[in-house]
Point group: C2
Chain length 395, copies 2
């Protein structure tokens, strides 16, 4: 199949490209290296250095004989995007190419506007480019479980059949997200559903949980094929951050009470889910939604899992509760359905002790590269315009 | 009260400014005259000429002694917007300053992206500017009943209390809008709700129905104080368009079967609703939604009302059914609640025969200015990028 990966330089985009390339698909990636710039803005680095995309693709070709084509393209440059679609004629498009950090989007007005503009307009351009050049292609779009927020009812997979005043309808599941970034994903979902309904396009929206893990089978093949791993307060996700805090002997910092419950999945399963979605495309006109995670945990449970792994490795680690920089419920009902990917054949990698131990050992090996000054939360949700990142205007 | 009107040059913004100014409020308006440019792009004009805003404001001052301050500002220019907020320190902000046409947004990629960027980012800038300079001000934002689409259940005012699997929650009413423009309003609503929740701002989202009418008490005061009235396929709303078709003896063009049912209101009631919302502000942290219309009609019923008014004036008019350029249900359930503004004291102007006759007489007086070539629908929903307006790129 001809598969175009948007955001192919990233944590998930790169291993996804390797996966499809390894199994014989014709793979091209698009990236504009925006994430590399955000790292400089925030003064942060991945735990281990990531060589440039072009070099990784050359190495992959040398090792496997397989070619991954690279298009350097900003999705806001629609002229170029249309040309890529016309030239490569993808049958599936996997779309990771968005600003993915809630704290980044909440840093100040500039980053909030950048996030919504980049994500919403970039995705609109993808939809129009597809409609013009490959209207039968299947869009597989990375969304987030954070689009739903934490409602007091069970979270269904994208659609909800409800009864109201004696009548019934199936509606888009009501969303109530918790950051400007999460809102951008909700807005994307609305725009994509409209394109499916109006232009008979086919799309799968993957409401993904929080991903953990350092590597996949293919990135582990050679150290220069590795993918990025962030532990900082802006791009680091919670389990990855706890592992790094434990590795350097710092307390694990839980935000608030720690009863915040979310869906989680192993990076191995992200890749598997992408493949399942691509191999079982949505029908023309269908806006299909999968909740892409394998287990629910509270932040407190995750902290305990990491503390226990550290203890097994002979390291005593404390758990601290910080004032919550975010505005979110810290104790709440959470029951999100996630059966559709299982029905397609997903066999989850669960977060057992052996998995935590393996990740912890890998992080410990790199602990001398950790910058402890970028782990504690610097960005707070409660005000809207007074935080300046280096190189950024105040508003 | 100090009231800032965003979009003060427009069909509704100008009469709103006059209303508050006349009763003694301190009024300033913002506009960037974008609508004047869209008119040139589309080759259309209002039914009667509208003098420049500065001249209208001078005339108003001469006639009444009352000053309306004008800030020429694009909401995308956040530096200037922040300065306006800091200088004028509004207590209420009435926000009409968006691209308001569904067909315009569906014309091609350029207009789709322009509409979402202009509306979403402009409103984000308003939220951040308020948070910085007047966080206690009340935002009264013009939304649209079109955000809801046509669900098979009763439409509530913004929020829905529902039961699912034995549990209950109150959620944002699920939306399923029918154009890129309508989507932009849904996205605005999500962003504003977040600002209320996170920054304790106060906002009222007015999901307005389709407005009809040529004038208000204050715009009728002098012919050069009049507000714009569009009858073309891009900016003309359905009843206004039918009145013009009847006035020039053309058939009334119903799109499809004509069972499309929507909420409608008289422009007099729009102004009254705005005043009621401003005078009864939302509480800090409250995202309040009013469904702002007074009566539901199908398009067929409206066509009959206009045909009957023309018959009473001695003009025989036919009703034609055209292939629908839009993608929308043409026969559907529709029952939208609209009690909150009534509870605040709205006494609706209903669409009785006398009202239609008065509007028809006013339109007939101007019939020599009608351009019959801009009335039939030119913009179709079914494809995404192949329509070029003069001066616009194809994509």
């Amino acid at each position: 199949m001809r598969i175009l990966i948007l955001g192919g330089d990233g944590y998930l985009g790169w291993p996804t490209a390797l996966h499809f390339s390894a199994r014989g698909d014709e793979v091209a990636v698009i990236d504009n290296f925006a994430k590399r710039q955000w790292e400089f803005e925030e003064g942060i680095e991945p735990l281990l250095p990531i060589v440039p995309l072009h070099r990784r693709a050359r190495l992959w070709r040398k090792l496997t004989g397989k070619h991954i084509e690279i298009f350097v393209c900003d999705l806001l440059n629609h002229h170029l995007l249309y040309r890529v679609m016309a030239e490569f004629k993808p049958e599936a498009i996997v779309h990771y190419a968005e600003q993915p950090s809630a704290p980044y989007s909440m840093q100040n007005r500039n980053n909030a506007v950048y996030t919504q503009q980049n994500n919403i307009i970039g995705t609109l351009n993808v939809l129009f480019a597809m409609e013009s050049h490959c209207p039968d292609a299947h869009l597989v779009k990375l969304g987030t479980m954070g689009e739903y927020g934490t409602p007091n009812i069970d979270i269904e997979e994208g659609w909800l059949t409800l009864m109201h005043n004696g009548r019934t309808d199936t509606v888009l599941f009501p969303k109530r997200p918790g950051s400007i970034y999460h809102l951008s994903k909700v807005h994307d979902s609305g725009n994509i559903e409209f394109a499916c309904r109006t232009w008979k396009m086919r799309a799968t929206d993957l409401n993904q949980g929080v991903v953990y893990g350092l590597e996949t089978d293919h990135t582990a093949f050679n150290s220069e094929l590795r993918t990025s791993f962030h532990y900082d307060d802006v791009f680091g996700t919670v389990l990855n951050r706890f592992l790094v805090q434990a590795a350097i002997g710092q307390p694990l910092t839980v935000y608030g009470k720690g009863g915040q419950t979310r869906g989680f999945l192993n990076i191995h399963d992200t890749i598997k889910c992408m493949a399942l979605a691509v191999d079982h495309p949505a029908a023309p006109g269908e806006f299909r939604v999968f909740n892409q995670f394998t287990e629910q945990f509270s932040v407190n449970i995750l902290a305990e899992k990491v503390r226990n792994a550290a203890a097994r490795a002979g390291i005593a680690v404390k758990i601290d509760h910080l004032p919550n920089p975010r505005l979110e419920a810290e104790e709440h009902y959470y029951n999100a359905k996630h059966t559709k990917l299982i029905d397609l054949g997903l066999h989850p990698h669960l977060l057992d002790d052996a998995t935590v131990d393996l990740m912890f050992a890998a992080v410990r090996k790199a602990k001398d590269r950790v910058d402890p000054s970028v782990i504690l939360p610097r960005i707070k949700w409660h005000s809207g315009g007074d935080r300046i990142a280096a190189g950024h205007e105040a508003v």
